[in-house]
């Protein structure tokens, strides 16, 4: 008996082996060739735009086409990343097998439900039946879909942190709107894509890895209220919600494709291109096969995602604004009159217990202020403020509604809406006069926003400029001169308020043609960094600021090969109308190595900019540089005026 049993086992194993060998070596392709699916149909399906979108195939600069997805488990075929037909054949083969795939060890059709749905609808259930593929139950997937109960989708954009131009690129994610009756947006689910960064990775590692794709991008499902809390309250960023023209079926397709990506694979996360913005657009292309969104070159900025979507007619059905906690707090404070404001300061200064206050508006302002302060995460301050907040809220609850007697709140500034902002690339031309000679200039930059740009869609009074260059042609001498090669310029002018005193700061790295030297075609490399303060003059539209900078310059045009010294800049920016800005700046420049001669220079600049439309702009600039402590005329051509026409794209 044991011998017989062993024999049977061996026999069964042999049969099983044979079956497995056959199924491995002669997959669907063979059967398809044998007539189940004709070759033309298979070819057409493999080339269909939707199939390519499901696999996230993209054509790169050099014309090579491959999938954006980096995890090999996303593909059943070894060539799946580059060969859509091989992947189609292998996918059909896998659907007929009892495999466990991906992170959740699911059946192939549960792991790739949108591929399954598409192939079934294209080939018909009959063909699938012949191929031995039948519908399977997918409980985890069902639970996932049920948690969204998708009806439509909203693209959400978060603006920059206050005082942080580096965050001007923003962040985008999706909100899946549920089909609930009397729905509350906060209870919907958010779907985001972000880099998975271990806590231990600090600044340098983070930057390097982020740049080179060292992180994995992952999808996450987070309740929308948590997102709102995170951006609006903890980080004081505005949120812009763009309701997309997606129906329930299209929203579901988006979720199914996200499921395929997340439970089987990953993307390498690149800060510049394969980032949250790009991947979300790629997902939207699955939901809406007639939308073409991922045609960006070089880099993708989240704000550009929004523009890409709004450019498609009818894609956005509504736009909603959620102002940050900071904006809402100032809105409340601004509405207080003098007496109320006095009361407000008494309460937050601990000079008057909230229980003695009978003014609900004051108490609400105090609560709003303490809420905002709490987000800063200062443990000691929060422990100190906790009883005050509690007493304030208790007192507030005892008073009646403010009702119609409430002072009208000034509308919150909706200046951060991204799709109304200018485009990031710039090309421009200038004509000007320096001394007695005419010149013509060309400028180009990759990104992003400077102090003279119209601020709509960006962080107000801040600058972040990426690589760019300006060349100048002097017709008199027929010389082309590099006027400036911009490395990076960052400026944050943060107006101080009676509640917040944060420094303003500036950093600049460039290669420029100095105007204080008696040469026309010499350049110096320059690094400047410094800090100072900004104040509003009577209105948020007018600011004055002072910055102390340390300047270091290198180049053969100066005697020792370098020079350095502190600088002091005092300037004002007036922005009386959104389209017009005027900047007036005086800078005192020192050169600590120039002991024998005049040590100080003054640079005076007067700039105007007028936005003609979203992407066209005219600028006029005047500047003069001269030795500060010399009464004699300057030996150099010190005055310059120019007119510039810029186009953003």
């Amino acid at each position: 008996m044991p011998a017989k049993k062993t024999l049977m086992t061996i026999g069964a194993a042999a049969v099983l082996f044979a079956l497995v060998s056959i199924s491995l070596s002669m997959p669907t392709a063979a059967r398809a060739d044998a007539g189940v699916i004709d070759r033309a149909k298979l070819d057409a399906l493999a080339r269909s735009p939707y199939w390519l979108r499901l696999l996230h195939y993209k054509t790169g600069w050099l014309g090579h086409t491959r999938s954006l997805v980096d995890g090999p488990e996303f593909f059943f075929s070894k060539e799946g990343r580059t060969d859509a037909r091989a992947e189609l054949v292998a996918t059909l083969a896998a659907f007929s097998k009892d495999l466990k795939v991906g992170r959740l060890k699911q059946l192939p059709q549960c792991a790739f439900p949108e591929r399954y749905r598409y192939l079934k609808s294209e080939l018909g259930p009959g063909v699938l039946g012949v191929l031995g593929i039948k519908d399977q139950a997918c409980p985890q997937l069902e639970e996932f879909l049920a948690s969204f109960n998708a009806k439509s989708a909203t693209l959400v954009f978060s603006s920059a942190y206050p005082n942080s131009p580096g965050s001007m690129f923003g962040h985008t994610f999706l909100r899946i709107n549920s089909n609930a009756t009397e729905k509350n947006d906060l209870l919907d689910q958010g779907l985001s894509f972000a880099a998975a960064v271990p806590k231990s990775d600090g600044g340098l590692t983070f930057a390097l890895k982020g740049m080179l794709g060292g992180y994995i991008g992952q999808f996450a499902r987070v309740p929308y209220y948590a997102k709102v809390n995170e951006y609006l309250n903890s980080e004081s960023r505005d949120l812009w919600e763009y309701d997309l023209n997606l129906n329930a079926e299209e929203s579901q397709r988006l979720l199914l494709n996200a499921w395929e990506l997340e439970t089987n694979s990953w993307f390498d996360y690149f800060f510049f291109d394969e980032n949250c913005a790009y991947v979300l657009l790629s997902l939207l292309e699955v939901a809406k096969p007639d939308w073409q969104l991922t045609d960006f070159s070089i880099y993708v900025i989240p704000g550009e995602t929004v523009k890409a979507v709004t450019r498609i007619a009818g894609a956005v059905t509504g736009v909603k604004f959620r102002p940050s906690l900071r904006k809402k707090m100032y809105q409340r404070l601004d509405a207080l009159d003098g007496r109320q404001r006095e009361l407000f300061f008494k309460v937050i200064g601990g000079k008057m217990p909230p229980a003695e206050v009978g003014d609900a508006e004051v108490l609400e302002s105090v609560a709003s202020y303490l809420h905002y302060e709490k987000q800063k995460g200062d443990v000691d301050a929060n422990n100190k403020n906790a009883p005050l907040l509690q007493a304030t809220l208790l007192r507030r609850s005892q008073l009646g509604d403010v009702g119609p007697a409430r002072r009208p709140l000034r509308p919150v500034l909706e200046d951060t809406r991204p799709d109304l902002g200018h485009d990031p690339y710039r090309v421009g031309t200038s004509s000007g006069v320096r001394g007695s000679g005419f010149f013509q200039e060309l400028n180009f930059k990759f990104a992003f926003h400077d102090l003279l740009n119209k601020d709509q869609g960006y962080l107000r009074f801040s600058e972040i400029d990426f690589p760019g260059a300006t060349v100048r042609f002097l017709p008199k001498s027929g010389v082309w001169n590099i006027e400036q090669v911009q490395g990076l310029a960052l400026t944050s002018l943060f107006p101080m308020t009676f509640l917040e005193r944060r420094p303003s700061w500036k950093f600049n790295l460039d290669y420029y043609s100095p105007k204080d030297l008696p040469c026309t075609t010499c350049q110096l490399g320059r690094v400047q960094a410094g800090a100072g303060a900004t104040a509003e003059i009577f209105s948020p539209n007018y600011i004055v600021y002072a910055l102390g900078l340390l300047d270091f310059e290198v180049g053969s045009a100066v005697r020792k090969g370098f020079r350095w010294g502190p600088q002091l800049q005092v300037a004002t920016i007036l922005n009386p109308w959104p389209d017009y800005k005027m900047q007036c700046a005086a800078t005192l420049i020192s050169d600590l190595l120039q002991a024998d001669r005049r040590k100080l220079y003054t640079l005076f600049e007067w700039n105007h900019s007028l936005a003609l439309s979203k992407d066209w702009e005219i600028r006029a600039g005047f500047s003069a540089i001269s030795p500060a402590n010399s009464l004699m005329g300057s030996p150099i051509d010190s005055k310059e005026g120019k007119l510039t026409l810029n186009f953003y794209f």
Binding site: H171, V222, S397, L509
Partner: protein, 192 residues
């Protein structure tokens, strides 16, 4: 300053990154799980003074939604910060108890309301005192209350009771539930 460094480096390395030349190969699919700095910050800030546990209340052990309540019921808002600055989002695998969750201690009915209370405690307290607001309306909804205006009136009227002493989100949540049951009109409009 960190942003500065990053942007500087971005600048220096942009061409390389754009060309995608130095792609790192990932040997393993699962992403490294890590807490975010903000989560750590939240640990410190979400507590207002010592918060002892309330007997009879369950702990929340959170996987899916990103919640953790330690033994002493201090609440760590571990909702991850999926900004461009990067963090670890909970993957889809980590869904409500299906994977990686040790326990789901709240009754299923209470889970939504309790996690909501934990996440929105600060905004919620303010709106409870004012008797209205979007955050409060959503809270009412998690408790199955259709009449959000009546719910708001109740929280305003009973604010002192609902949030007395060293309150915690979980304690507040249970007191709100209790209060609903004491109010016949609300009980009728809520599915507690």
């Amino acid at each position: 300053m960190k942003i500065l460094t990053i942007v500087l480096l971005a600048l220096a390395l942009a061409p390389a990154a754009m060309a995608q030349t130095a792609k790192k190969k990932h040997k393993t699919a699962p992403a490294p799980q890590a807490e975010t700095k903000q989560a750590a910050k939240a640990t410190k800030t979400n507590e207002e003074g010592p918060s002892g546990g309330v007997p009879g209340e369950p702990d929340i052990d959170g996987c899916g939604l990103g919640w953790q309540v330690t033994d002493s019921q201090s609440i760590i808002g571990a909702i991850t910060r999926g900004t461009t600055n990067g963090t670890v989002p909970p993957s889809f695998g980590m869904t409500s108890g299906s994977l990686g969750c040790k326990k789901v201690p709240f009754t299923k009915r209470d889970q939504a309301g309790a996690t909501y209370a934990v996440s929105n405690y600060d905004s919620l307290r303010i709106e409870m005192a004012e008797g209205q607001g979007e955050v409060l309306a959503a809270f009412a909804r998690t408790l199955g209350c259709g009449d959000t205006a009546a719910f708001g009136r109740m929280t305003k009227k009973n604010y002192g009771t609902l949030l007395e002493g060293q309150s915690t989100p979980v304690r507040m949540f249970y007191k709100v539930k209790q209060q609903i049951q004491l109010d016949p009109a609300l009980t009728a409009s809520c599915a507690v």
